[in-house]
Symmetry: C2
Amino acid sequence: MNDLAFDLRSCSNCPIRHRAVCAKCEPDELSRLEEIKYYRSYEAGQPVVWAGDQMDFVGSVVTGIATLSQTLEDGRTQMVGLLLPSDFLGRPGRAIAPYDVTANSDLMLCCFRRKPFETMMNETPHIGQRLLEMTLDELDAAREWMLILGRKTAREKIASLLSIIAHREAALQQSSPHDGSSFDLPLTRESMADYLGLTLETVSRQISALKRDHVIELKGKRKVIIPDFEALIEETGDDADGGMLV
Amino acid sequence: MNDLAFDLRSCSNCPIRHRAVCAKCEPDELSRLEEIKYYRSYEAGQPVVWAGDQMDFVGSVVTGIATLSQTLEDGRTQMVGLLLPSDFLGRPGRAIAPYDVTANSDLMLCCFRRKPFETMMNETPHIGQRLLEMTLDELDAAREWMLILGRKTAREKIASLLSIIAHREAALQQSSPHDGSSFDLPLTRESMADYLGLTLETVSRQISALKRDHVIELKGKRKVIIPDFEALIEETGDDADGGMLV
DNA sequence: CCTGCCAATTGATCCTGATCAAAGTAGATA
DNA sequence: TATCTACTTTGATCAGGATCAATTGGCAGG
């Protein structure tokens, strides 16, 4: 999330470049990557299966939204990963894991076949290093998410999610969110609820409340405008200056 | 958490071996690691600082418990990482991050100075690979934790935590939890509350309830006995067979 | 033994967000 | 234009866990 400019150096003809495999690749490495690259599309609601013969792959999101989620015995579900354009999907060198991966909108993935990608990773240290960095970033995001789930009120949860999405959308344009920033909410109320550990009714109510209090404005159901970004941050409950060091 | 037997192959004289740097190291690599290795102790409650000149390090827990936590503006805190003996601490090759690291009991760390460790990691691909695997495992644990925080009831949260600790304790003995398993709770009620996103009163009440319902037995305040491990798993709400694949 | 201290337990009450229910809105299709 | 469907909003009520408060238990030090 930090060094996106670094990541977006061209290495393929994807509309959105692969975050994993760009910055330091030599020309011959790039052409090897091109060889094992292909695209897959999914319709909204479709599960993303990526194991089994001939379809083992890793890759990244070109357009659309995918989610990882886990479900309890009685059907309660919690989203545990949100994949927006440019995010990487897959666990090279690691066993598959029990998450449901779903296309949350029409989705286009740019994929690499797993085995040759892993081979290349082993022969090309900087790709492995880049994957480690990305995984550490994902871990940081997961920990921020844990704070949201465990200790924030419903209103703070909504404000936090809006702030996260605003930052992500801005990063794709290589900028930062600012007063007057606007974006399309890529998630339904229900998906937001699954992200935040709430019900969809609570999500709806809190969005209405933030609108009433002029923290956000809505154009239609999906378009969000943030008139004063600082005011939104206030609502997240986050500490302005972080804690100690890792 | 899975391939602990693999990780515990001797590579140093640590009572608990470093998970990161064992299995594939050659003798000369091991002696290089020995050179940059040292120990640090902390008292219960002490912050673990590991940045600044001369004290930049990564390492692993030998004895005791350390926690990573994050705090909101008004003091609400959420634990986002729990480090038990054999767990690795630090982010080689990555910027420091804003977590509070605290010794939750008397704590002994086995440390490597950061710079030489990073150098070695870059020159020794299998160490980097091992770190990637470990980080992916941590990410899985974080996602399980997110499900707990977002969707489980207080009783399910307690049962889940007990199950996790039972598994960890058993893994250190290279076995699995079984009927009659017992262990010392390494956390206070307050720490358990910070882990689970509850208050300490709720933790206490739910533990009492589980005891009343004969799901667990207590010897003193800290020693827990699980008479029927299957019954405890039932209480976690988890789906017996996982979902799809990553 | 008593005292002080801290962790844990238990009780009473309150409040946030869940649940159940109904109505509104927009886009797609005929 | 009318209808259908999926998504969203809003209302009324309920319950799980938070909060505030008092008590208990264990242990170290005098």
